[in-house]
Symmetry: C2
Subunit: 305 residues, 2 copies
């Protein structure tokens, strides 16, 4: 499996192309809109320059096409990364289904729509699964592998091995659910954050600092379960006995949820802009990617020490 | 305000003593149980050895007493860090109220009980507030400052300045709520994590990796609001418009919560133990504190670069 096809040349598709090409794979990027290729190539060049001293060599492995059949020819693994609506996923997977053979794996970067929602009617449905990355995948290792009920077990296994091979950290989710694991965890925290902000308990900056300068210090190397097992003398069971009452109160207090208020979103957006301009940064995405690269290096150094 | 009193010589109290003494303050630790002093001193010596080359000098600033009146004499700031039950907080705050003058600040490390629940009837209630740390405070900077409705504004201000002075990152919460901000955010994520685990969607290791190797990469330097503002082309408002439907579905799916199942806690505890022993570490707390120290150093280096 030395040829990878990336469907969609946006930020996620381009980031995937970097991850695959930097690990030695040939990458064919498909987009029906040829005018997007220049932006994609610019982003890939810029990011590769910070990742490797062989940027010129790596970029030779990446080619573009606006022809789906050409993109899929000889591909062993396809990473679909287009706009996230059910209809868009159904259309592209039907189109691919008509063009591919038995040996290719068709993975989707879908962040919340389960694979069964767009693969059920396909002839090649046993070759389909979700490989959901965290944005941007060339800088954040986790990938959620979520098979549909009809996905062949060997497809999930091979796709997981490929993710390991390119240096990602794949995790296999046992059964489908909207949002999978990562975005449900983030969503639960966001829903509480949004409510606390809307109700005036704290500013965006205070809420963000509680995560950035508080919770993240433990979560950067321990997950939530391992963290709480350190927060009661008797470990996780002791923690559960002490704090499940408190956490049940939190859950009950959110039993009548309302959607996020869009006026609150406007105010919150202004507060985020104030935080970002306080840093004096022209380009917040460049800063973010620099920080992600530095953090990834810290994790790599500290886990080897 | 050069003398600090720490009430309670457990892990949180001892960690606070390290933070204050290492910043140059004299610290008087009170505990009614003198037999706990040896453990506290051992922990403080061990941690100071990793924090400073002046450990012998710093530890000279810390003294112990089992007499509350002696502990409070000349104190400018009190950091109460005893067992967390409402009755225990009421008892110790009543006892302190009878002994102190007008100038001392009485702060509680309470992680969820609001200050008004145990300070309403006190003569010195205007001097009371919450200063909730993240465990352990000498290695994690965030402190939530939560005044009661009757807390004097200058008390909140002085306590916040003191936290800045010792190198913590204080945030002021606008109004009281059980669990304040940090533990409500953690609790919302934990409730979802617990449900996903109990229902068999993923293992403890998979859930922990989703945070450790996924969400934490962004949250280590951006909070949740700043993070999502980077995850839609049009920023935070665009993100809200695209994803509030999905997040509302998550919220609605948890509208009939049940308490954490204690049998699930036993299984989860076994999975955490397997993760920790896989690391081959004898002492998980030592490892955790080493990682926290390293992470704090990374944050300090990367924010100065």
């Amino acid at each position: 499996m030395d040829k990878i096809t990336v469907i969609g040349s946006g930020l996620i598709g381009s980031s995937w192309a970097i991850a695959f090409a930097n690990a030695g794979y040939r990458v064919h990027i498909y987009d029906r809109d040829e005018s997007s290729f220049a932006n994609s190539e610019r982003y890939i060049r810029q990011e590769l320059a910070s990742l490797t001293s062989n940027a010129d060599e790596v970029i030779q492995r990446i080619t573009y096409t606006a022809l789906l059949a050409e993109a899929l020819e000889d591909a062993g693994y396809v990473q679909e990364s287009i706009f996230e609506t059910l209809e868009a996923k159904q259309d592209i997977f039907s189109a691919m289904d008509a063009l591919v053979g038995e040996d290719v794996i068709l993975a989707s970067s879908s962040s919340s729509i389960p694979c069964s929602a767009f693969s059920e009617a396909l002839g090649h449905r046993a070759q389909c699964l979700i490989a959901h990355p965290v944005n941007p995948p060339h800088l954040i290792p986790l990938v959620e592998m979520v098979p549909a009920p009809w996905t062949n077990a060997s497809v999930t296994e091979k796709a997981t091995l490929l993710m390991n091979d390119i240096g990602q950290t794949p995790v296999v989710v046992n059964k489908e659910i909207e949002g999978f694991i990562l975005n449900r965890l983030q969503g639960a925290l966001l829903n509480e954050a949004w409510w606390l902000y809307q109700e005036g308990y704290a500013s965006v900056e205070v809420i963000d600092k509680c995560v950035r300068d508080g919770l993240s210090h433990r979560w950067s190397f321990m997950g939530p379960f391992q963290t709480i097992s350190h927060n009661a003398p008797g470990g996780l069971v002791d923690y559960a006995e002490r704090f499940r009452g408190f956490n049940f109160e939190i859950a009950k207090s959110r039993a009548n949820p309302t959607p996020w208020d869009l006026d609150a979103a406007k105010n919150a957006a202004a507060e985020v802009e104030a935080i970002e301009s306080k840093m004096g940064l022209d380009d917040a995405v460049t800063w973010r990617n620099d920080m992600l690269r530095s953090f990834k290096q810290w994790k790599s150094d500290s886990s080897n020490s």
